[in-house]
């Protein structure tokens, strides 16, 4: 397989804090790769190490197999879409997109700019200033500005965080399809597991500067290696050491089969596509089951039986 970016034992220690600790992962060319983790876990730092804004304390970063540790940001063929987009307020959309091309002394600026603006569906807005654009449009300008340089890897730091929630879902779809179309490798930082799951081919889960697990969405969600990964990617019921996800926790009025637990419903909350049923077992433990709306709900106080398919147990 064709690796475009490789990190080997990369660390970044600030005087006050160890932001990143010996993390290693590899990104395949053309992949949509997500760095997922809670706030403060070192995602941005990792991204900045790749972009060259920070110097690694230890370890090696290589692009297309060549080490780039020594290169300055403007010598690395990677580009960044910043969390706040960092569009140049004094330049028009065109000015922003041209900026990088001019640095390269590229030819046929006009054409390249036109094409990339078409790509992100911003044609016609070339002469607007960033202040005159909506959040979604700004994000697209930021993308265009970087994509037009055809980087080996495009780094995105929470590109959706700045958008209003209603817009976010829509842009998410656009981002995915855009990546498919241009085929550029995306290295993408987020702390929203739903975002990571829905967008990426590969997810690297970070915690406290350490890499916990790398794998496909199914891997990290269904076969988490650590309790942290299991918990961070979705709710889990821990029943005597065994982890079961709410949607895998079956609930029925009649006890069928032997390995099932009896409990009473405490509350049932309507979430639209499903009910979140909170039950309490004999031993007082609280177990949450997610019941598809169509299977109907349960009334508080109802005695119920909980069971699950062993295949759905999370084995760490």
């Amino acid at each position: 397989m064709d690796l475009v970016l490789e990190l080997q034992g990369v660390s970044k220690h600030y005087p006050t804090h160890q932001a990143v600790n010996e993390i290693s992962f590899a990104v395949e060319r053309g992949a949509f790769f997500a760095l997922l983790g809670p706030s403060g876990c070192g995602k941005t730092t990792t991204l900045r190490l790749v972009a060259g804004f920070e110097e690694a304390t230890a370890g090696d970063i290589s692009l297309n197999g060549r080490s780039i540790n020594q290169l300055k940001p403007y010598e690395r063929n990677v580009n960044t879409v910043f969390q706040n987009y960092a569009l140049f307020p004094h330049l028009t959309v065109r000015g922003n997109v041209e900026f990088g091309l001019r640095q390269q002394g590229a030819d046929q600026l006009a054409k390249k700019v036109r094409d990339v603006l078409d790509l992100v569906q911003l044609s016609g807005k070339d002469d607007r200033f960033p202040a005159q654009l909506s959040g979604g449009e700004r994000q697209r300008v930021a993308l265009a500005r970087s994509l037009v340089l055809q980087p080996d890897v495009l780094l995105l730091d929470e590109p959706l965080a700045a958008l209003d929630p209603n817009l976010r879902k829509q842009v998410r779809g656009e981002l995915k399809s855009l990546q498919r179309r241009v085929g550029t490798t995306f290295l993408f930082v987020t702390h929203d597991q739903e975002e990571a799951l829905s967008l990426s081919d590969q997810i690297a889960v970070m915690n406290k500067g350490l890499l916990e697990q790398v794998g496909t969405p199914e891997d990290v969600y269904l076969r988490p290696r650590t309790r942290f990964v299991a918990g961070f990617l979705g709710a889990v019921n821990w029943i005597d050491g065994i982890g079961v996800r709410p949607e895998a926790t079956r609930i029925s009025r009649t006890a069928d089969g032997e390995r099932c637990i009896s409990a009473t419903v405490r509350s049932s909350v309507f979430l639209g596509n499903c009910f979140q049923v909170e039950t309490v077992c004999r031993d007082g433990q609280c177990v949450v089951a997610e019941v598809p709306r169509l299977d109907g709900s349960f009334a508080p106080g109802e005695p119920v039986h909980l069971w699950w398919d062993p295949a759905d147990e999370l084995r760490l």
């Binding site: 060259g52 403007y74 910043f82 140049f88 900026f99 990088g100 640095q103 500005r145």
Partner: protein
Amino acid sequence: MKRGLGLYAVAAYAFLHLPLLVLAVFSFNSSRFTIWQGWSLAWYRAALQDGQLGEAAWNSLLIAVASTVLSTVVGTLCAYGLWKRDSKLLSGSLYLSLVTPEIVTGISLLVFFQWIFRFLHVQLGMHTVILAHIAFSLSYVVIVVMARLRTFDASLEEAALDLGATEWQAFRRVTLPVLAPGIAAAALLAFTTSFDDYVITSMVAGVDSETLPMVVYAMARRGANPVLNAISTLIVAVLGSLIVLSERLRES
């Protein structure tokens, strides 16, 4: 409450503007004294014909422009450098000079010039005045530009680097343009403080560097003088319109 505030504001603005207004009105008075005797442009004629005044005004202008240009350039670079990483000594002495009483600054510069002139024989003159003005307007410039930098998003520069610009190009093509309004404001401040300064100038001025404030002071010392009203009015008018103009430019 709202109305009370409004009334107060009217009073406050009267307090701020009446003195100069009165000055302006009486600059058109045909009498020397504060008794109104009808309109006349005599004092303006006198002011404009006074060679010494003209020369002083010209000097003030030269000095203000020169010191403004220099202190703005140096100050902007300095603010940027400090913003990158603070230098206790430099920022400390900048703050200190900002709060040094004018008289002390002036005296210390006078003493300094005398002292070095013992060794290299230079005369007091435009150059010394300009140096002095740079010395005290530098801190204003740094402070104002710095205030602007505090709201400057560092990731803009990183974005420029990321897009292939070198540090210098990033500064030149992104940071400077974004800071422009702040720099303009700083320059304006430097210009007016320089154009206005008497205390320090009077200490380091030489033969050929008498400035407008110095002449004004001498005149004020000689007592009421309608020519002074005329000059004052002219200065207010000219500077005022200058400010308004620059504001317009900034807005557009």
